[in-house]
């Protein structure tokens, strides 16, 4: 069903002010399931996700989708570590992407109401989004990303600052999205979350893909010494 | 929010429409400050069904407005400049309507002793030799030009004066305010002086010299230069201004029992 995938990346590099942040990266990504991106801080997880999503500038190399870029962009969504809240109420925040795509306001709001119900914000529709707690904001951001029914959803450490209960709720929402066929690409530094969610693992080090394997194999025993050390909790430089 | 914007837009667009014939006339501050306009304009409206829109400016600017074609006629009081205006072809002709007079105003204790002067020139000489503060309009208006001619007549040049000579570059009212503030002498037209509300310590000290007579003339702007001007309306207004009706109103206009203007148009 996926017109978007497979994704082919060859020699992709992101540079800023002469410094290479990511790359060169070569990889192929195909659905379905969840690809978890792990690696120490500064290994380039966020930049890699932005590169794939098309919001960071590609300095070198190519990123090719199975469809024209325009279409590919429209079939993706991105959830940030710190959710961006529009200065509107919950309903209008969730409805916003639909309205951008030309859905009429009553229809967009009706769908937003359904989504708010699904993620447990059904009784906060008219609250200002800025007044929500961190967990509620991240759930709102998820609903706003999923309302467009993306084929591919990028998540950049979505639970980094959240308590256990919020994390559990968000993982449930993500599991549902996955069950409905959405491919997830999740960057995280939480190894527990990585183990719970991953079907495949990308281990990044110094801006490069150091190891890419199916999750059960990876967690059973990584090939590289660095990945082993990282899994053990050692500091990896 | 949309309602608010809509309400604002509606309010803003409710432009009041102007009906009837209109004519724009540039007049001098001194004429306007006399209050005579408030007597003449309603009667003109009644007799001619003509809305005269007054632009109150100095003579210099009034002549400029006429040159640019931004007004249909001017009513000013500076003979030399008016004649130049007609010679250069900006006005069709110059029609004398009425005159009032200038007066010398100053601090009521009259430190320069000008109240007993033989004539205006002697009064100015007294002010200059005492070096008491004197406020000049300094705005190229008819009053300012008159003042400069009087200094010339006295054989004095304002450029040579010390700091007692203050050129304020302002209209009659503002200049009178300045004189009141500085307790200074000033040349003013009688009408502006009588109508002036902030006399403070000032008093009228010298008047009556024929040199101080102030002739007002009416000049229609030349339609050959500016085809858009309301030449026909300007002609109707001129005919009215020299009529017996206007004469009665002008000669009969008084402030505090004093007659201000003398009608002297030749029919």
């Amino acid at each position: 069903m996926s017109a978007l995938l497979p994704l082919t990346v060859t020699g992709a590099e992101a540079r800023r002010r002469g410094k290479t942040l990511v790359g060169p990266v070569d990889l192929t990504m195909d659905g379905p399931g969840t690809t978890v991106v792990i690696g120490p801080n500064g290994s380039g997880k966020t930049t890699l996700l932005s590169l794939l999503h098309g919001t960071a500038r590609l300095s070198r190399g190519t990123i090719t989708w199975n469809c024209p870029l325009e279409q590919a962009r429209a079939a993706q969504a991105f959830v940030f570590q710190r959710p961006v809240m529009l200065r509107r109420n919950v309903r209008d925040n969730i409805a916003y992407p639909l309205q951008l795509r030309g859905t009429r306001r009553p229809e967009a709001r009706a769908q937003a109401d359904q989504w708010a119900e699904r993620i447990g914000l059904g009784d906060m529709l008219d609250r200002s989004a800025g007044a929500l707690s961190g967990g509620e904001q991240q759930k709102l951001a998820l609903a706003r990303a999923l309302i467009l029914k993306p084929e591919l959803l990028f998540l950049d450490e979505p639970c980094a600052a959240l308590d256990g209960r919020s994390m559990r709720e968000i993982e449930t929402i993500l599991a549902n999205a996955k069950a409905e066929g959405t491919k997830l690409v999740l960057a995280t530094h939480d190894m527990g979350q990585a183990r719970r969610m991953a079907d495949d693992v990308l281990f990044l080090l110094h801006g490069r893909v150091h190891e890419a394997r199916p999750a059960p194999e990876f967690f059973a025993g990584p090939d590289t010494a660095e990945a082993r050390a990282f899994l053990k909790g050692d500091i990896v430089e | 929010m949309r309602k608010l914007i809509l309400a604002l837009a509606l309010l803003a667009l409710s432009t009041a429409a102007q009906a009837g014939e209109t004519l724009r006339m540039a007049v001098t501050t001194s004429f306007h400050n006399s209050g005579l306009a408030e007597v003449l304009l309603p009667r003109i409206k009644a007799d001619l069904d003509l809305d005269v829109q007054l632009l109150v400016v100095g003579t210099g600017q009034a002549l400029r407005l006429g040159r640019a074609g931004d007004v249909d006629a001017i009513l000013v009081h500076s003979r030399a400049a008016e004649e130049a205006f007609v010679t250069e072809g900006y006005g069709t002709h110059r029609r004398e309507i009425m005159y009032n007079d200038f007066v010398l105003v100053g601090p009521s204790d009259d430190p320069a002793r000008i109240s007993g002067s033989a004539d205006a020139v002697a009064a100015l000489r007294a002010i200059a030799s005492n070096a008491t503060t004197f406020v000049s309009r300094g705005d190229d208006s008819g009053t300012h030009k008159k003042e400069l001619r009087l200094w010339q007549g006295a054989g004095l040049a304002p450029e040579d004066f010390e700091r007692w000579y203050r050129s304020v570059g302002a209209g009659m009212g503002a200049a009178l305010n300045a004189a009141a503030g500085m307790d200074a002498y000033i040349l003013a037209d009688r009408a502006s002086w009588l109508n002036f509300g902030n006399k403070a310590g000032l008093a009228l000290l010298f008047a009556g010299d024929p040199e101080l007579f102030n002739q007002y003339a009416y000049l229609p702007v030349n339609p050959d230069r500016h085809p858009h001007v309301q030449a026909a309306q300007a002609g109707r207004l001129e005919a009215w201004l020299v009529s017996p009706v206007a004469q009665a109103l002008i000669d009969g206009y008084q402030i505090g029992g004093e007659t201000l203007f003398v009608f002297n148009a030749t029919p």
């Binding site: 961006v84 109420n89 | 007054l54 109150v56 509300g197």
Partner: protein
Amino acid sequence: MLDVWNGLAAAFWLVVRLDPDLIEITLRSLQVTLTALVIASLIALPLAALLAVRRFRWRRAVIAVLNALMGLPPVVVGLVVYILLSRSGPFGVFGLLFTPTAMIIAQVIIIVPLIASIAHQSLRELWTDYHDLLISLNVTQRQKMQTLLWDARRALLTAALAGFGRAIGEVGAIMIVGGNIDHVTRVLTTAIALETGRGDFALALGLGFVLIALAVTVNLVIHGLGRTEREGRW
């Protein structure tokens, strides 16, 4: 000090008697300034949004010029508009000089930089907040501007009110281009200048107090409307 009391008394009586001349010039003040405000906002707000979201070579220069123009002397604006609209000027054929339209034009020129600068400040802040999300959602330039303008509407109201304040109290420019013609282009500020010139300080002050009251009222009303709308939707 006595003048101030006389001024207050004059203002009181003008208002209590519902003086027809006062009502006329007050309404004209409102009409001219609100029209100028609507037009200036329609120019300045999209411009501010464009400057916030669009990167182009002269962006910084444009912003610097706008900021500098906030202090544009109204008299200079008036003189330039006068020369342009004069019968001998390039736009003389329209016969706009000494009409309320000329005053509106002058006020628009005076307040566009002010509104655009203030609006740009707040839109830029909002854009920093929204940047990642809007880029990710792949919005068009137009949608970016619409989103920012809508979500910053409270701050933009403040910008517009600043423009209103500057325009309603302005005298230098509209005196030159309007000519202060009775029943045609006389507004509160030019009437105040006229009465000051006549030495009638009490009346001038009275009109001044009416002007201040008007400005305060308009501000309160617009803020009030803004609040009602906020509670309903936000």
